[in-house]
């Protein structure tokens, strides 16, 4: 908001479809266009065409499709995006054994390869989109290069937070 970028009402309504009720969407990618944060693509579970169970592979297959989608939309990580991803995984906790977890992660993707202006705009507008999504229910991560976008990386971070470490 300090950048003057507004948040489109669709951002909040599609996020509701990811976080509440039947959880229609699996991930959503947002971009800034004409001084406005808009929904670039919202992908349902069915559109991912996955065969295995998400909890078994800790969303590995789904996440790889998501990462590939980001990569193609940012033209090989030379542009910035915001994204939310519904991360389903299993982790083991002391006393509770293995449990199925379901966490929404918010990614602020500002690759090193993007133009400085883009990175500035996305960084200064992040507060606005996070405020309108409601920061209470999401985990926030910043991504600046491809290795940071890997499934293993996020699984470790989530495991650190919720697992028995």
């Amino acid at each position: 908001m300090s950048s003057g970028v507004m948040v489109d009402p669709d951002v909040q309504t599609s996020f509701q479809k990811l976080s509440e009720g039947r959880k229609e969407y699996r991930y959503i990618i947002f971009k800034i266009e004409d001084n406005k944060v808009i929904v670039e693509s919202a992908v349902t579970q069915d559109q991912l065409e996955l065969t295995g169970d998400d909890y078994d592979d800790s969303s590995k297959a789904a996440f790889e499709k998501f990462a590939a989608d980001i990569k193609s939309r940012t033209n090989g990580l030379t542009d910035c995006r915001y994204a939310v991803f519904d991360f389903k995984f299993t982790c083991s906790r002391v006393g509770a054994g293995t449990s199925k977890m379901d966490k929404i992660i918010f990614l602020q993707i500002c690759p090193d390869g993007a133009s400085i202006k883009k990175k500035m705009v996305y960084a200064s507008s992040a507060a606005a989109i996070k405020a309108s999504l409601g920061t209470g229910k999401i985990l926030q991560f910043q991504v600046s290069d491809e290795p940071e976008m890997s499934h293993k990386e996020f699984l470790n971070k989530l495991g650190e937070k919720y697992g028995d470490h």
Binding site: M1, A131, S132
Partner: protein, 611 residues
């Protein structure tokens, strides 16, 4: 018969800050308006000047208070995000619940028409709004969707329920429920949205904000119905920010309050202005809040003044003056008909003691805190202020004429003022000297200590100066010179001194809670041997009754105590919590059985203390 009773109250004005909207509440019948100042909530009747009720249970600065449509409860918010819901039917105002909604100031509160749900919005760190059930505090939805602080919220008064809100991100949001869920935002405003309000039947709502436009929407889905336009302005409704918006009880009109110093009344069917009420031309005349109850249309000026507007004629029927900063000094005219109160920002208000009608003394005499004010028998007014001036305001018109002030520069800060009844001699206790003003001449006598207060005997012979050195210094006054005749030691800094009206007794109060009377004729020996230490904190002020038999003292402990000189061993009359949550800065006897007190809370209270 009780020892004392409160007979009248001249209430504080609402707290105002430039560029910040004042949100007003009202009772369902519309006979009272609610506003906030300090840690209090004021329930102020629109047709009575002396009968305001004050709710003082908040521990932080209050921001907004709203009555439930049922009339049984009131919800009030503070700057730390607490919403207190309290009973309105009993004077004890039993607390129903306190709900911490977020960690920041609550800017607006709305009840639903069933008096079951409350929506509170503001500037929290984690969220900007919360909707909950009033009796249990359980959440009834989710008001996220706007990216910056939410300023205003309203419930659709009819089913299907909706909540609308206005935010600093320039948008108006609509939520559907219950449970309430984000539906959409509308970005028609180009600046902050300050106010959103539904009409009485819920078919329409309007929003307004910093861009000076007023937009009308369909109440159910938020489709834009129209934009209010003033033909004299291009495409906008006001030439300044609009801070408040209110619907008429019938729903056919809308009134708005703006920083362009006007209140405008609009016709909802034609979207055109019907009446423009110009309040003034100065910055202080900006209008920061407005409410249209079933009985009155009330707007608030940047000074805090309460304007009662006649919507039919488009004129201001009545203005209520007063203070919204601490009252530091009181004085009455010699006939007791006029009361002067002075505050920490240099404003002086003249009140009709019988009716509570008020007037601000304009042009203003001082720019900063007034530490002493006295009225003389010929109607002149003497004042001293932290702007280091002793000023004499001559009588004129129906009161005093502040355009012809005699101004005397003091060389150090004045802390107290004493004036003879006829106004011949005035003595100001300043930080480093005592200033004597007689026959239009000012003489400054240096002192070797720091003074805090001063008294002058009625025969103009003796001056008593209270010092921060814990001593009362008594001087003989001859012409413009002083000779010290007696020094009386106390255990702590002297806070106030006063000679009885006949000059027989000198009373001094101090920071160690003591009130000590001395006999002047017997070389200032103690008038009695009892310890008058019933205050629980610093005594701030003292005043003699006209019959010289009783004393009233006010203290930091919120109470006023009435002492009886002829029965020094009796338990005094203690008015506990005379000014709840606030220091009592000034007390004054109006007549043998009436005292007036004023405090940090900007209220003036009248107490009857029968003989």
């Amino acid at each position: 018969m009780s020892e004392f009773s409160q007979t009248a109250l001249f209430p504080s004005l609402p707290r105002t800050a430039r560029g910040t909207a004042v949100v007003l509440g009202n009772t369902p019948a519309g006979e009272k308006v609610l506003y906030c100042n300090g840690t209090s909530v004021y329930t102020c009747p629109v047709n009575n000047l002396t009968n305001t009720e004050i709710y003082t249970e908040h521990s932080h600065q209050t921001t907004v208070a709203k009555y439930s449509p049922s009339g049984y409860y009131c919800a009030s918010g503070d700057i730390h995000g607490n919403v207190r819901i309290w009973d309105t039917t009993q004077t004890t105002h039993i607390l129903k619940t306190t709900i911490p909604v977020f960690s920041g100031p609550v800017k607006d509160i709305a009840w639903d028409s069933e008096s079951k749900r409350i929506a509170a919005v503001g500037e929290g760190r984690e969220r900007f709004g919360h909707v909950f059930l009033f009796d249990t505090g359980t959440s009834n939805g989710n008001l996220t969707g706007q990216a910056r602080a939410m300023n205003s919220v309203d419930f659709k008064p009819s089913r299907p329920f909706r909540i609308v809100s206005g935010s600093d991100d320039n948008t108006v949001a609509i939520f559907e429920g219950p449970p309430f869920k984000f539906k959409s935002t509308f970005g028609d405003h180009t600046k902050f949205v300050h106010s959103v309000r539904f009409n009485p039947d819920g078919s329409l709502f309007a929003s307004t904000g910093g861009d000076g436009t007023i937009i009308l929407y369909n109440g159910a889905d938020g489709t834009k119905v129209g934009v209010f336009e003033d033909d004299s302005l291009k495409g906008v409704a006001h030439s300044g920010s609009v801070y408040g918006l209110t619907w008429s009880p019938c729903g056919s009109k809308l009134a708005t309050a703006s920083a362009d110093k006007t209140v405008k009344i609009w016709n909802v069917s034609t979207l055109k202005v019907e009446k423009t009420v110009t309040i003034g031309s100065k910055i202080e005349d900006q209008q920061l809040g407005i409410i249209w109850t079933k009985q009155a249309l009330v707007s608030i000026s940047a000074t805090g003044f309460v304007n009662l507007i006649n919507p039919e004629l488009g004129s201001v029927d009545e203005v209520r003056y007063g203070h919204n900063k601490a009252i530091t000094a009181l004085a009455t005219s010699s006939d007791g008909k006029t009361l002067y109160s002075a505050d920490a920002e240099g404003h002086i208000t003249a009140w009709e003691t019988a009716t509570g009608k008020s007037n601000r003394i304009i042009p203003e005499i001082h720019a900063t805190m007034i530490t002493g004010i006295k009225s003389t028998s010929n109607g002149n007014l003497f004042t001293v202020s932290w702007d280091d001036h002793l000023k004499v305001v001559p009588a004129g018109g129906s009161g005093v004429d502040s355009s012809k002030v005699v101004s005397n520069k003091l060389s150090s800060q004045p802390l107290g003022l004493a004036v003879s009844a006829d106004g011949d001699v005035a003595v100001a206790a300043c930080y480093k000297h005592v200033a004597i003003y007689a026959q239009g001449k000012l003489t400054e006598v240096p002192i070797g200590y720091n003074s805090s207060c001063v008294a002058l005997s009625s025969d103009k012979q003796l001056v008593a100066v209270g010092g921060q050195d814990s001593k009362v210094h008594v001087y003989k006054l001859s012409g413009p010179s002083l000779s010290e005749v007696k020094t009386i030691s106390h255990a702590a800094e002297i806070t106030s001194v006063a000679f009885s009206n006949n000059g027989a007794i000198l009373v001094a109060t101090d920071q160690s809670r003591k009130v000590i009377p001395y006999i002047v004729a017997k070389n200032f020996e103690l008038a009695h041997t009892h310890s008058w230490t019933f205050h629980t904190a610093k005594v701030a002020c003292v005043s003699w009754s006209p019959d010289n038999n009783r004393l009233a003292t006010g203290s930091l402990d919120n109470s006023v105590i009435i002492w009886n000189m002829s029965k020094p061993s009796d338990h005094p009359i203690i008015i506990k919590g005379a000014h709840a949550m606030s220091s009592v800065n000034s007390v004054l006897w109006l007549n043998a059985t009436t005292i007036v007190s004023a405090g940090q809370d900007s209220n003036i209270k009248f107490w009857n203390v029968p003989l």
